[in-house]
Symmetry: C2
Subunit: 192 residues, 2 copies
DNA sequence: GACAATGCGGAGACGGTCTCCATATATTGA
DNA sequence: TCAATATATGGAGACCGTCTCCGCATTGTC
């Protein structure tokens, strides 16, 4: 949970302590209540005032990005690994599944990330943090197209949207991982 | 916009007038702001107090169901027409497209309907109103399976979930109808 | 015209978001 | 060690949306 950030000035010791505590509590709250968890409540549970929370994290997305920071690293690793996999089709299939599972970390995550990418704000912290998701998808789709294993009339952004939508549906229905796999397979097959 | 309802007692004349006006205004507001439009604001625009709105429509879903009432009828017609179509595969494909388009009537509609079906409340007015969506999907999937044109390991509820998720994604990205068709095709193909 | 029965409005409680600034704490350098 | 300064804090409160309650108004009926 080392949510340390390379900022202009290092934070004052007490500020860093608060920052870390807030991120830790936020991760728990998001896991429990979904991405819509009350921010004032998170501040309270972290033992700080609302003002403190909002100075460190001006928007909900900023806090969400911080809470997601570590696990997003793992996803970037997966992207690197899969992009050198020999079988481009199988690599894409696995990527889709890994992504879909990842988007179930918190209830509402596909919504939050979808909004961050759809909204105009290009410098949204959540968007920045989730860049590996986009770039990974783009790269793996590119390779799959190059290998001729998926149809040409589908864009990488479509694949990203489909992954998000599958995760959204699975969350809505509280699906088992087994069911998620079934939904993912429909999309994977449909891309062929 | 004949949102008349067969109730135990006919409404008093003024009450019926208010009811109709609220539904009319609500349809506009939902179209403009999505399913999350402010209810107090709808009441205000309809020239009634919040209390009046909440007595007629105890929940947001109840109002949404009333606003959707008419167009849902058209959908039921489509279901009837398609369920006697000779080509069961083509019928299912068209149904998926019709449904997906319908779910874009209001921003947030897939969310609202998804929650109504996922939530425990079996007598939710939105759920009741949207029954044709579920039964139509079930029937068309049944016929397609019988004809052997779609894979056996997919449930009707999976198809319903996939349709909703496509509509969700299309809304998020503000997709053109053309793009929606592309996404729908991926799912249709994936079911084969 | 009078009297139920029915329906209405809007004040206000509640909970969430987010801001502002007087106060408190950490850090620095003499 | 102890100012002096830079930095960070918390919580009161403005704002907005939801939803309820109940004194008052309107309608339908005899």
């Amino acid at each position: 949970m080392g949510a340390d950030v390379a900022e202009r000035r290092p934070l004052r010791a007490d500020a860093q302590r608060n920052y870390d505590k807030i991120v830790k509590v936020a991760a728990e709250a998001f896991a429990e209540k979904g991405t819509g968890a009350s921010l004032d409540d998170i501040a309270c549970r972290a033992g700080v005032g609302p003002g403190t929370l909002y100075r460190h994290f001006p928007t909900r997305d900023a806090l969400l990005a911080a809470a997601l920071h570590d696990s997003l690293g793992e996803l970037a690793d997966a992207a690197r690994r899969l992009s050198v996999e020999a079988d481009a089709g199988a690599a894409l299939d696995e990527w889709i599944l890994v992504m879909a599972r990842h988007l179930r970390t918190y209830a509402g995550l596909p919504d939050s990330i979808g909004a961050a990418f759809a909204g105009g704000e290009a410098d949204s912290p959540l968007r920045t943090t989730c860049m590996p998701m986009q770039s990974g998808t783009r790269e793996l789709v590119r390779r799959a197209k190059e290998a001729g294993v998926i149809r040409a009339d589908v864009e990488a952004s479509d694949v990203a949207a489909l992954i998000g939508s599958i995760a959204w549906a699975a969350e809505r229905r509280n699906d088992s991982d087994e069911t998620l796999v079934r939904l993912v397979r429909v999309v994977s097959e449909g891309l062929r």
